[in-house]
Amino acid sequence: MTVIGQIIGGEYGELYVRQKARKTIEIGELLSVGGDVILQVHDLGYDSLMEDDDLARISGMQLEGYDDTAIMEEEIRNYICARAKLLVHVKDGTAKIPKKLPPFFDQVRRVSEENFEFLDEPENGLYLGKIRSGSRVLDVPVYIDGKKALSHHILIPATTGRGKSNLVKVMLWNLIPKDYCGMLIIDPHDEYYGRNELGAKDHPEAPNKVEYYSPNPPPGGYSLKVNTNLLRPWDLRGIIDLTSAQTDAMYVYYGIYGEEWLGSIMVSDPEEAKIHGVQESTLDVLRRKLSLAIDINEVNGRVYCDSTIFTTEGNENMMNQIVESIEEGKKVILDTSSMPQDKELLIAGMITSRVFNRYKHYKEKGELDGKPTVSVVIEEAPRVLGERAGRNVFHTIAREGRKFRVGLIAITQLSSMIPRELLANMNTKIILGNEMRSEREAIIGSVAQDLSKDSKNIASLDKGEAIVSSIFTKFAVPIKIDLFDDIVERKERKNLKFF
C-alpha cells in the first residue's frame, strides 16, 4: 500500500500523523506502521508551518481581493494532522497490546486484508461484521466467541437510526443455526421475526430453530397468552408498585393456595383475610392493583380475565414450552408490540425468571456444562436495568447471570441511565453512532479497552458502522455490519450455508 502519512510526534496515547498531500485520512481509519503496528485515527485537524498571524494575513489578502497571490509549496506548509492511537501490535501472528512506540518519522500506510491475518474465527464464533477502516470496508470477517460473549452480556448502545435493529437481526440470523445458545427475544416492535418483511422466519433452519409467540400469531406461530396460575408473587416485583403489607399479603396467599393464590385473593372475603393476617383495606387495594396489572376480575365468586394477554383457562404449559425450547438452543421471539409496557415486562420477567431459575438449579446439580448459553434480548434496557427499575430478574442476571451462563443483550439509547456497575458487567459492547456526548462518555467509561480518545470517532459512526469493545477481543474493533436484507438475499441467491 502507498504511503499516506508519517509520524511526526505525539506520545503513547496519541500519535501525530502528518497526512500526505493529496491523500485522505479519515476519522476512525486504521493505519499500518512498519507492517506490525496498527494505529486508529481518532481526530483530525489542520496544521501549518506558518504562524497564526501569517495565516490570518494570507486569508485576508485572498478574501479581500489581493489578486495574484499563491501560496508556494502549500502542500509542505499546510497539512492535515491526524491524531491516532496505538491499537494493536502483531507479533508472531498474534495480536498484542502495544507496549512501545513505532519509530519516530515512520511512514504510515492504509491497512489491507493482510494486516489482519492474525484474526481467526474462534470456537463458537459469532459473526458481527467486517473490519472497517474509516468508511472503507475490508474483506475481513470479525467474530467473537459467541458462547462466552453472550453469557458475559452484550450492550448495544446507539441513538435512533444507527442500525440497532439491523444489528440484532444480523446477530439473530447468524445464531439461529448455532446450538450453543438459546435466545429469548423480547420484541416490542415486532420486527425480528419478519411477519411482514424479511426476518428470522426466512432462515432455512427457522422451522426447527425459531419459535414465535404473539397475541395474534400468524400460521406457524404460537399464541402468547399467559395463564394467571403461572404467575408468582415475585414476578410482580418492579411491575406493580406495592407496599410491604400488600407484598406480604401476596406471599401469604401464595403460601396457602400455591398456584391458585391470585384467584384466591380475588375471591377472598374480609373474614378469611383477617384469619390470614391481612387487613381488609390492604386486600381491597391489592385486588385493585392486580386487576389493573393483569386484567383479572371477580364476579359472583368467579375469577376471569378480560385480556388478550392473560387467561384463567388453558395455556398452562406455554411457559414451560418456551423455557424448554430455549434450553434446546432455540430462538424464541416474543411479540410484545401490542402490550403496554408493564405487561410486556411482566411476561418477559416471568419467562426470564423461569429460565434463570432452571439454570441456577442446573448449576447446583452440576449439570450446567451440557446446556446451551441463554441470551435474553431486551430493548430499552434502562426500563429494567436503570436505577429506578428496582430489583428484578434482569438486574440479577446482569450482576450474576454469567455464573449460570445466562446473559443479556441489552439495547439502549440511554446507557447513562444504567448504573456503572452493570455497564461494566456488560463485557462486550457493540457501539453504534451516538451524537449525545453524555451517552458516549457513559459508554467510554465502561468499555473493555481504552476508548477515552474515541468520543468523536463514536459520534461520527454512520449507520451500520460500529466499534466492538470486548474482553474477548484484543482491541476495540471497528466494524461494518452487513445489511440484513443483503444477507438474506445473498443466502437465497447462493444457497450457501451461512457461517
Binding site: 489581493y66 489578486d67 501560496i71 508556494m72 509549496e73 509542505i76
Partner: protein, 341 residues
Amino acid sequence: MIQELWRILNEMGGVPDDWGDPHFQHHQGYYESVPLSTDNFTPFSSTGEEDKVVCCVDGGNNCIYRSPIDSLHLIRIYFNLFKGRTRSKNVKPLNAFLTVKQGYESIECRIRPIESYMPISETEFILNKEDLGDGNGENAGRIIRTYLEWDTMSHVVEKHLDEGDILVKDGVLQTSVEGEKEHSDRLYGLVEKHNINLVGVAKSCSLKTTMGHPLISAVRFIGDGLEEDLWYYHPLAINKNPDHKGDMAIVKYHPRSEYVFRTEFYEGVDMDKKEVLGHLANQAKDPLFLGYPYGLVDADMKARVTDEETRHLRRAGTDRMRKEVSYRIKALDAHDRLSNL
C-alpha cells in the same frame, strides 16, 4: 508620549521637491551615476513558465563558543531548486564547524565539514586581520560563510543548472574581502561558460541619492505614480568597480508588495532581464512575504543558524569541555550569563 511620537514622525515625512540622483558615496570613482528618470522604469510580467530552473542560495552562521583568542562557529549553506512554483529537487544543507584561531597579524580558520552536498574537505584559510576589523572572530565566520556560498553556487552551476537557468544569490554581486574574489571569480567563469543567468537580490540597500534620500524609497515613490504593476528601474549607474560585477536595478516583484528590492544582474552574461524577473515575480506571489521571491525566503529559513541551535550545541559541548578551554571562554561569557538571568 505617543502624541509626541506622531508629531516627530510627521516632521520626518514630506515629499521632497527634488529627490536627487543615485549617489555612490564609497568607491565613487567606480560608478557613473545615471540621473533618476521615469524613462528608466520598464514594465515586465510574471511568468508561469516552468522551462527554467530557479536556484536560490543563502547561508547562515552563528558562534557557539568564543574566547579572546579563538572561537567555534557553525556555518550552514543551503540552496533550493524550483521550476515554476514547484520544488524540483530536495537538497540537504551543508553544515560545517569553523574553528577560528587568532594570531598576531592573521587569523587561522579551519572548516570542519559535517555533511555536505558537494565535495569539501577539512580546509584551512588564513585571513588578514585588517580585513576583519573589530570583532574579527565574529567576522571570520561571516567571511568563510561567504566563501562557501560562492563555492556552493559554483557547485550548483556545474551539477544542477543548464543553460538559461537562473541562479539567485542572496545579496549583491560584490566582494568585500581579499580572499573572496577567488571564489566569486570561479563562479563568474562557470556562469559565463554555461550561460547561466546570475542575479543578486539584496534584502536591504543603503544607497542614497545626491539629496540624501534613500535611493530605494525615492525610486519606489516615483514608481508608485506609474500605471505598471511590475517594473524594474534600470540603470542606476555605469559600474566600473572590478570587485562588483552586478548591473544594479531596483525591482517591484508584486503589484501589492510593500517592498522593492535592489537587484543585480551579472554583467558577464547577456540576459533577458524581463524574462528573468518574470520568473522571480512568479515566485513572489506568496502572501507570507508578498513581493519577495519565495526561493529566497525558503533559503533564508533553511540556512539560518539560530541562537537556540547554538545554545543547544553549547550545552551539549560544555559537558565534555576541557578545563583550559572552559576557562578561556569564561573570559568573555559573563555578559551572556547576566543576560540570561
